[in-house]
């Protein structure tokens, strides 16, 4: 059954309880932050911060909109990270969430470049390439910390005090969200219904996604598909054809040269 998390930006007060709950449940360390003129901290996701609230001040015809966005893995149906992952460490669960098998991860970083939302983070030495495995929100499906499969809500949803976060059957949540968007009217819209085959984190936004720092039309990078569906099969094909050709070559050449020597 396809599951999803629904985030309603119009109900969110950016209290950041979800950010704390995520750290708490997943055993992530707090980070040292500085005051840079915003409540928003830390400045970006990291290996220790899988979910954070973003604060945006957007001008709108002389008035100011203070917009909040939940930033974490969007759990795309057509997930670029899963598509590009060379080892199968990143994989799609049947409920649609993108989980990680850390034993398979080799820190290659391909997913970091492929993700249209810049979500995965890696803490590895630039020089040696060694370090911890890739990290990101797994919708609380991380092995050993798996809430979903044990019948609990994701930590962020569980803690949300305003009802801005909900978890459940994706189809039901889409219906709920569409009703809410109709109720809000104006520029309000649902983000994630069809993007990248349908995101498993749905957003109710009061305005255009760009104003929330979300890409209007996120895409799986072309090279990802080229690499997996063209270049790799081409590589196997070339190796096979060349290898077979050489085998025949050696057998024919030996047979002919030996028979000529015997003829002499």
């Amino acid at each position: 059954m396809s599951k999803a998390i629904l985030y309603d930006a119009t109900k969110c007060t950016a209290c950041r309880a979800c950010q704390v709950a995520c750290k708490n449940w997943n055993g992530l360390e707090s980070e040292e932050t500085t005051n840079w003129g915003s409540y928003e901290n830390p400045k970006d996701l990291s290996t220790q911060t899988w979910l954070k609230m973003e604060f945006r001040e957007v001008g709108n015809n002389g008035t100011l909109q203070w917009l909040f966005t939940r930033r974490a893995c969007m759990h795309c149906t057509d997930a670029a990270c899963v598509k590009v992952c060379p080892t199968g460490a990143l994989y799609k669960r049947t409920d649609g969430f993108v989980a990680i098998n850390k034993d398979k991860c080799t820190n290659c970083g391909y997913c970091i470049d492929a993700c249209p939302f810049s979500i995965p983070k890696l803490d590895a030495s630039r020089v040696s390439g060694l370090g911890d495995r890739i990290t990101k929100c797994t919708a609380c499906t991380t092995s050993g910390l798996n809430r979903i499969d044990n019948g609990y809500l994701p930590a962020c949803v569980k803690t949300c005090p305003t009802g801005a976060l909900a978890f459940g059957d994706r189809r039901t949540l889409v219906n709920t969200a569409q009703a809410r968007v109709a109720e809000l009217g104006g520029n309000a819209r649902l983000y994630g219904k069809d993007e990248l085959g349908g995101l498993h984190v749905l957003y109710i936004l009061a305005d255009a996604p760009e104003k929330y720092g979300l890409p209007a039309d996120p895409k799986v990078p072309t090279y990802t598909t080229v690499w997996q569906n063209v270049l790799k099969p081409l590589g196997y094909g070339v190796a096979g054809v060349v290898g077979l050709g050489l085998l025949i070559n050696i057998m024919v050449a030996r047979a002919r040269i030996i028979s000529r020597e015997e003829g002499n």
Binding site: T87, T106, D113, V127, T222, G235, G243, A255
Partner: protein, 208 residues
Amino acid sequence: MQDVERFRKRAIYHHWWIVGCSFLLAVTGLFLFMETLSPGAWGGYSRLIHRIAGGCFVGGPILYFLLNPKSSLEWIREAFTWNRDDIGWLKAAPSYYFGGPEENMPPQDRSNTGQKLWMLVVIVTGLVFVVTGFLMWISGVSGIAIILHDIAFIVAGAMFLVHFSLAVFHPRMSEALRSMTTGKSSVHYAKSHHGKWYSRVMAGREQS
């Protein structure tokens, strides 16, 4: 049987140095190309080996060039020097390498056309590997760099299979491996496989 010197010791060491580095690079690289092999990446330690081998892959030729600038440049010039005999070689080679008659093969220089083609592939793909690899090392992975790195691998890998098969298994290249290990080949082999070069050596105009 009389022998003639084909390669100097330092050129032989250089060759096998590159072989060693390339082998490590190919194996540790394949972990990211073939999902079935990926457990061999050993949680990322293959990345460290790949980087060390990459450094050695660059360092070897640089050191060789600094010690032997003249013969290095001569080797590069050779790879890029093509004439009518090379066209003749390309036409006659398919039959020849499948055991056909030897008469149609034009006389060859120190390296034959096929070897020069391999030298070109090594130079061009080597540069692509090093530039894209270094960029990914210092500034992180990018799609275009992965694509170029992997195209270079497919081209170099395919040509390597040909190089390996000819040098190790092909009955006509019976002394190729010997000359790259001992540095020597028989006079007969040098005459029949590298006629132009052999006559120059005999005239005392060129060293091996």
